[in-house]
């Protein structure tokens, strides 16, 4: 039982990170209709920038957090403006391939800008172990779960009540009508890229806090795919919850069935989910006009 609880808690913690990145996917899909295959790489770069700030400027938690958020916003905006906006109006296949191209470029840029060795992100927080009953939990793990829940609530309120959130939903639902209503689609897209970069970046920084930074971190993006598929590509909240589910499944499969299963549990799960509900658990069924 204790083994099970241990797996469950660490599954929730890693699942929260997947959830954050999956929310990043969903925010972009919801407002621009494409899957950003470079999400994992953007996450990784934000985490590396946070590490650079912590080693060169100051190791203070707040400085690092603020720096990482600003860096993520800039990264998202630059990518949107330089790479994605010229592709506006091109077929989905072309735009998605552009994000794949972007992904491999960002991935290999790590080795040139930083290096190929693993680093620990130390901000004097996150690695101490707290005991809940008989189970040891790192403070970083508790923090990431709390952050995910907070962000879920915040994003729900944002899309439900704020004017910009409603505008984003409008662009997602029907961009032409939204344009006629005076909403600037390009501005909404830019905002979506920035927001997605920040949400995923937070996940990346938390990953670096609890584990280590390494050039293989982009694989977090691949792990978050199952989460967003499970929740539904257009469901931001569903993606967050999907992340938790995938994290738990992965950890339980790894704990009871062997480490090989841990790697593929999420992928096996999406194949099953897609066979039953091709639009995800919380996603909207796509109705096609012929």
């Amino acid at each position: 039982m204790q083994y099970f609880m241990q797996l469950l808690i660490s599954g929730l913690a890693i699942g929260a990170i997947y959830g954050l990145i999956a929310m990043g996917f969903a925010v972009i899909y919801k407002s621009t209709g494409l899957v950003n295959f470079a999400q994992g790489e953007m996450t990784m770069i934000t985490a590396y920038i946070a590490w650079t700030i912590s080693t060169t400027v100051s190791g203070n938690v707040f400085v690092v957090a603020l720096g990482a958020i600003v860096a993520a916003v800039v990264l998202g905006l630059v990518i949107e403006r330089v790479v994605m906006r010229p592709m506006l109006g091109e077929p989905v296949f072309a735009t998605v391939m552009v994000t794949i191209g972007l992904a491999v470029i960002l991935r290999s840029s790590i080795n040139f800008i930083w290096d190929a060795y693993p680093h620990g992100l130390d901000v004097g927080f996150g690695r101490t172990i707290v005991r809940i009953g008989s189970i040891g939990v790192r403070t970083g793990q508790i923090a990431v779960i709390a952050t995910l829940l907070l962000l879920l609530a915040a994003i729900w309120a944002f899309f439900r009540y704020s004017k910009i959130g409603v505008a984003m939903r409008a662009v997602a639902a029907d961009d032409r009508t939204a344009l006629l209503m005076g909403i600037s689609a390009t501005r909404v897209h830019a905002l979506a890229w920035a927001a997605s970069s920040v949400i995923a970046g937070i996940g990346g920084v938390f990953f670096a806090l609890s584990y280590d930074l390494s050039p293989a971190m982009f694989q977090l993006g691949l792990k978050a795919f199952p989460a967003t598929i499970l929740g539904g590509l257009d469901a931001v909240l569903g993606s967050g919850l999907g992340g938790l589910l995938i994290g738990i499944t992965e950890n339980l499969a790894g704990g009871y069935l062997g480490s090989g299963m841990k790697e593929v549990a999420g992928f096996a799960m999406i194949i099953v989910v897609l066979m039953v509900r091709p639009f995800g658990i919380f996603g909207e069924r796509d109705i096609e006009r012929v």
């Binding site: 391939m97 470029i105 991935r107 290999s108 080795n111 691949l222 795919f225 590509l233 593929v264 897609l274």
Partner: protein, 348 residues
Amino acid sequence: MRTGDFKQTYDELVTLVDSPPVWLWSALLVAGLVVTPFVLNSYALSFLMIILITVVGALGLNILTGYTGLISLGHVGFLVTGAYAYAILVSKYHMHPLLGFLGAGVVPALASLIVGAPSLRLKGLYLAITTLAFSFIINTVILEARWLTNGARGISVQRPEIFGLSFDSDAAFTYLCLGFAILTLFATLNIRRSRVGRAFVAIRDNDTAARVMGINLHAYKLFAFVTSAFITGLSGALYGIYLSFVSVEGFPFLLSIEALAILIVGGLGSALGAVLGTILIVLLPEATRFAFSLFSAQMDAMFTTGAQELKSMLYGLVIILFLRFQPRGLVGAWHDIRRMWVNWPLRY
């Protein structure tokens, strides 16, 4: 003056080659390729081999992504299955190499049925993600099935000997690859101009309309998957023989990206494009390296240390630049040049 390229019968429309000089040039090209192994040094010859092997794989992916419009990010999965099927049949069970090649086609084809079946309900991006998942699952399966695949240790493969002909030397192996490349090229060109190929393209252009026309979407999508996996598997077997060692590490995920880059650079949905794209993508890292080495020795050193990273960066850049500035690929550029040649000095 020639005013256009007019077709009057359906036979003319679907002929393999519509002008005799093309046959002549193609024959000359093949003759040239037959002579090259005797002329080139072994370093240049290895590039020719890689190009020929990659052409087979690119043509395989072209059937699925180019003709049928189904995006696959997991083609490296079929590549590695084909390589393992060949290695297991020939190196482990000492079967005839031809049987090995057959297995290298059939096993990925069967695997593609497993991926293809759930994919029938999926479209576009969801399909891309499922195929991506497949390529990771297949790697784990190979690593776990140690009794069959030796797990992470891999299997070493000898160059084959078929009916007394030894393909041990580089030149002979190049001929084997050339044979496979030409056969695949003819196979895909013929698929494209047959009923099946037209059905594929109809599905790509508009699947609802294709369905209304009486095309069985499920059957044709599965058929596209199976043919594509069969051809890709053959390419994987050849690549395994070329590496002389089959392991999961020999088939990194980057190969999937490379294959898509080839199709985009060449021009999606064109066999000629797949060939041109392969040549460009395979030679690109080497050409860039050469260009940089002219500037300074330091740049050259960077290429040797970070070869893999620079290679993937180049692929990424090429994908983005082509999609942005030449979405129809090299084939599109070639068509433009040809039209300009015919119509000059007029634009149309």
